[in-house]
């Protein structure tokens, strides 16, 4: 019986050998994988060992920390709650982070290579200095104004968004989305409560977690006429070139009428007046005359069809921006669908745009055709407030030349001074813009848009804004958007931010 017993001993040896080999696999080979695995809660606790960097806007902290006495040593606090939530997002214990909290996580948590020297210093001093701080480009007055005006709008609209950017640099001055949410319950250290709060927000049909200024596209309506105008100006048209208009325009089954009968009833109207009065028939004909390719090309040059853009640091990363889209404007066989082209020229049909894209269009016109890449991170500082990075504005695209930009600016100023955008006027500043009223669903109230820019008394383009209000009741949907945009730009320019 001893031979089989010895063999049983060998079997045990082999089994233990397997255990030992597998332990080596788990604890040596895969150790680093497992140590940093997303499911490893130790990673989370370690991140709360030192204070996370502060996110600041205009000198005030909009994401700060509170010292706690539980296992996770610091609680993230968002003092301005809904106002900044779409921009900075939140960083919960167990769930995924969003917004700038997510995009700049490495720097805020202190793990970034940029803070390597600080970490080395920690090793010698034994301190746990915090992560790096992020300074936003947000102008607090413009941001607060945008939020206040949006939620207290005169039409009782409950969904919308507003963006303002500095046309000269691309720095985002304001970015709000309505309805918004209070991020504080989401970052609670009571993970069950946090998870419940998240689920409640996530299931809300009004989608408060959605950043409507960057992540949602809507039909822009007549705002798109700026693109068609740019296409025309680039193809030999002048601001005073007469284009065909009229009460009604029928094209391949599509019937185009003006918003009111008194708008451009005559057979001819010049380009500037067409934009000023937002003449539908004129722009529909103009789009068809120019042809699909020229319209789509210009739209693309302004940033349509770009699904790569992010707003955050100019070094990359940030809030993803949904792709603004013109649609194909094609029949099933690929040929130009002229009816669709006529409607698309009015920003209807399949044309969709984010409010950020709207602000970019206005900013491009105001900045002489030079489209700056939008960004939210102005500066990164180390825990001891050394500057580590400062944004250096970049040109994203140059869709139009200076002459076209000047003509467009002239036309858009006329819109605010004499046309549909009168409510955006700001005393002491030169304001231009374009309104949009977009039909969206059968029986639903239209969306109201306004894109615009403001020059100060020194002739500097200080702000470009876009306001979008969803399903505005009571007619003249864009007028309220124009009013709010004017107030935001005024605040951004440092005037009357109350």
């Amino acid at each position: 019986m001893n031979a089989p017993l010895r063999r049983a001993g060998v079997v045990i040896l082999v089994l233990f050998g397997l255990l030992f080999a597998n332990l080596n696999w788990v604890q040596a080979y895969k150790a680093d994988d497992y140590r940093t695995n997303d499911y490893n809660r130790r990673v989370v606790v370690a991140q709360y060992e030192r204070p996370r960097g502060i996110i600041e806007a205009g000198g005030t902290g909009v994401a700060t920390n509170k010292v706690t006495d539980d296992a996770l040593k610091y609680l993230r606090v968002y003092p301005r709650k809904e106002v900044y939530a779409p921009v900075i997002g939140y960083r919960p214990v167990g769930l995924a982070a969003t917004g700038i909290e997510n995009a700049e996580n490495d720097f805020l948590s202190g793990e970034s290579d940029k803070l390597f020297a600080d970490r080395v210093k920690d090793m010698f001093t034994g301190n746990n200095t915090g992560g790096g701080n992020v300074l936003l480009t947000i102008n607090t007055k413009a941001q607060e104004k945008a939020w206040k005006e949006l939620v207290n709008n005169e039409r009782g609209v409950d969904k919308g968004a507003a963006v303002a950017i500095d046309p000269r640099t691309g720095a985002v001055q304001a970015m709000v989305s309505m309805p918004s949410f209070d991020p504080n319950p989401l970052v609670s250290h009571d993970e069950k409560a946090a998870s419940a709060a998240y689920n409640k927000l996530n299931k809300d049909p009004d989608q408060p977690l959605l950043n409507r200024s960057t992540a949602e596209t809507k039909p822009p309506g007549s705002v798109f006429k700026v693109i068609v105008s740019a296409a025309a100006l680039q193809n030999g048209y002048k601001t005073d070139t007469e284009i065909e208009a009229g009460r009604e325009y029928r094209e391949s089954g599509a019937v185009i009428r003006n918003s009111e009968d008194e708008v451009c009833p005559g057979s001819q109207i010049d380009l500037k007046d067409a934009l000023t009065t937002s003449c539908n028939t004129g722009f529909a004909r103009l789009g068809v005359t120019l042809g699909r390719d020229k319209v789509l090309e210009t739209a693309k040059a302004f940033g349509f069809e770009d699904d790569q853009l992010t707003v955050g640091s100019l070094e990359g990363g940030g809030l993803p921006v949904a792709m603004s889209d013109t649609g194909k404007i094609a029949n099933p066989d690929g040929s130009v669908d002229k009816g669709a082209l006529a409607q698309s020229s009015l920003g209807q049909r399949d044309v969709r745009m984010t409010p950020l894209q709207g602000a970019l269009i206005a900013a491009t016109v105001a900045n002489g055709g030079d489209q700056k890449r939008p960004y939210l991170v102005q500066k990164l500082t180390s825990p001891d407030l050394r500057t580590i990075y400062t944004a250096n504005p970049k040109t994203l695209r140059t869709p139009i030349n200076g002459q076209v930009a000047a003509d467009l600016k002239d036309m858009m100023v006329s819109v605010v001074e004499n046309g549909t955008g009168r409510r955006a006027r700001i005393s002491g500043m030169e304001v231009g813009g374009k309104t949009g009223t977009a039909q969206n669903a059968e029986g639903a109230d239209p969306h109201g848009w306004f894109i615009g820019f403001a020059f100060n008394d020194k002739g500097e383009a200080v702000s470009a804004a876009c306001v979008m209000l969803e399903n505005v009741p009571g007619g003249h949907a864009s007028a309220e958007a124009a009013r709010i945009a004017g107030l935001i730009m005024k605040a951004a320019a440092g005037q009357g931010g109350d």
Binding site: M1, L5, R6, D32
Partner: protein, 503 residues
């Protein structure tokens, strides 16, 4: 060597077991090793306090001292009742047991501090309870050594033990799930706050029964066979008991939803059968039956579900633990993944006793204690633990080799192998080597059943190793047995195929 508490050369008249001059008992070696083991346990406790509380309290040595007293008691009992027993087994097991108590106390301290409570007393919490269970287990082991002076006596009660074993295995299966189910496996009897795992005790009873049965039947099983393809296959009617046990273990698998226990029972039976008959064909048949059964259960789980579904689930979880689908599902791979992450975080050296976060691992005081410890003592510490286990198992097998009677060989071999297999099943399970099954880690996991059963197993091994290493004529033998049976046993040792065990 540490100075012995009891002089080894004292006259042999102290106990019933007369020591033969000139044969080494090595009891002093055992005492020395035991002292060394307890120093390690005390050092472990001190390190835990240093990193958890921030200072070493003046009472850090008390748990180690209490354990020392307990093990010293067992040592004294062994000195008088089994003087020739293997000297390595008790110190090795005592070290594992002591580290287990130390780790459970570390959990208590960690829990209390995170709730901002004062450091718990030595007898509080799961650590204190484990200390009490150790006391009871050692008393049981001592009683077994005192009562069973010759392991062959056990064979008298073989059928009673066999029946008890089967009943113990079956009880949780027939009880309603509310009483017997913990974490999806029906292995328990729970009455209020008290719960035992009867299967733990069944192991020893079943091994004794198998050993007895096989010693009596081994000629039939090994001689009457047909030769097919160069392998001797047994006759159909001799397959009866194998098939019975195979069915029993599959029943366990299906109704108690526990592959590990099934594998354990089946493995121990096949191995005792193989050792008894020396026929490799039994191994082949056994392995084919078991893995065939497992594969069919897997297929049935995939297609039919029902009682097999749990098994299929576990296989899926084992194959893809990091799939978010498996991870997030209730009863999915959460435990396994957290165990692996804990082990991986520990790396080569570990964070040091007391410096890890074992509470992130579910069931860390039971099934996953090895993973929890792995974070703190690292690959090197766990390897040392593995070596300790291996030492105990191989020492048991060595006793089986050396003991002179077949019954003793089979019992010692079967128990050692089962212990080794159980360690493989649970440690392989939590390290992802094999599908995870609900087994306790012998001598480490908190819980009375496991500790008591395994200390009884150790006592049985000590008893047999005493017979193996002691003098042949009168040592292991017949003092308890009237008649001439004892005198025959050594004479029949060599070459004889038959050996009569008189109950």
């Amino acid at each position: 060597m540490t100075a012995p508490a009891v002089p080894a050369s004292s006259p042999a008249s102290t106990g019933e077991m007369a020591r033969i001059p000139g044969m080494k008992t090595q009891r002093n070696a055992e005492l020395g090793l035991l002292a060394f083991a307890m120093v390690l346990v005390a050092a472990y406790g001190a390190t835990v306090e240093a990193s958890r509380i921030g200072e070493i309290t003046p009472t850090f040595w008390v748990p180690a001292a209490l354990l020392s007293v307990l093990f010293l008691g067992l040592h004294v009992v062994v000195r008088y009742t089994a003087p020739y027993a293997d000297p390595v087994i008790i110190p090795a097991v005592a070290l594992i047991n002591g580290l287990g108590v130390g780790f459970l106390r570390r959990l208590d301290i960690g829990d209390a501090l995170s709730e901002k409570l004062p450091v718990p007393g030595i007898f509080a919490g799961i650590g204190g309870r484990q200390l009490a269970w150790t006391l009871i287990s050692l008393i049981l082991a001592a009683v077994l050594l005192l009562v069973v002076r010759d392991h062959k006596v056990v064979s008298r009660y073989a059928y009673t033990l066999g029946l008890t074993g089967i009943v113990l295995v079956m009880i949780p299966a027939v009880l309603p799930a509310s009483i017997s189910e913990v974490n999806g496996a029906k292995l328990w009897i729970r009455l209020g706050s008290f719960s035992i795992q009867p299967g733990e005790f069944a192991k020893i009873a079943l091994v004794s029964f198998f050993a007895y049965y096989l010693v009596r039947k081994r000629e039939v099983l090994s001689l009457a066979s047909r030769r097919v393809l160069g392998i001797d296959f047994p006759r159909g009617r001799d397959l009866g008991p194998v098939v019975t046990v195979w069915l029993l273990s599959l029943l366990v698998l299906v109704f108690e939803r526990d592959l590990g226990t099934a594998l354990l029972y089946f493995g121990l039976f096949i191995v005792t059968l193989y050792v008894a008959t020396e026929r490799a064909s039994w191994l082949i048949i056994g392995l084919l039956l078991f893995f065939g059964g497992v594969y069919i259960a897997y297929l049935l789980g995939a297609s039919v579900g029902g009682p097999f579904a749990n098994f299929y689930d576990r296989a899926q979880v084992w194959l893809n633990p990091f799939d978010s689908e498996n991870y997030e599902r209730l009863g999915g791979s959460y435990q396994l993944v957290q165990g692996l992450l804990s082990l991986g975080t520990g790396g080569l050296f570990g964070s040091g006793p007391g410096a890890g976060s074992p509470r992130f691992v579910p069931e860390v005081q039971n099934d996953f204690i090895f993973a929890g410890m792995g974070e703190e003592i690292g690959l090197f510490g766990l390897s040392a633990l593995l070596v300790l286990y291996l030492l105990v198992v191989e020492r048991g097998l060595r006793s089986a080799l050396a003991v002179r009677d077949s019954f003793g060989k089979l019992v010692a071999g079967g128990l050692s192998f089962t212990l080794g297999l159980q360690i493989f099943v649970i440690l392989g399970g939590i390290t992802g080597l094999i599908p995870l099954t609900g087994q306790t880690t012998p001598f480490l996991s908190s819980g009375g059943s496991s500790l008591m059963a395994n200390w009884l197993l150790i006592a049985m091994l000590l008893r047999i190793s005493n017979a193996a290493r002691g003098p042949a004529a009168s040592g292991g033998g017949g003092t308890d047995r009237p008649g001439g049976g004892a005198k025959k046993a050594p004479a029949q040792l060599h070459g004889a195929m038959t050996e009569v065990i008189k109950p």
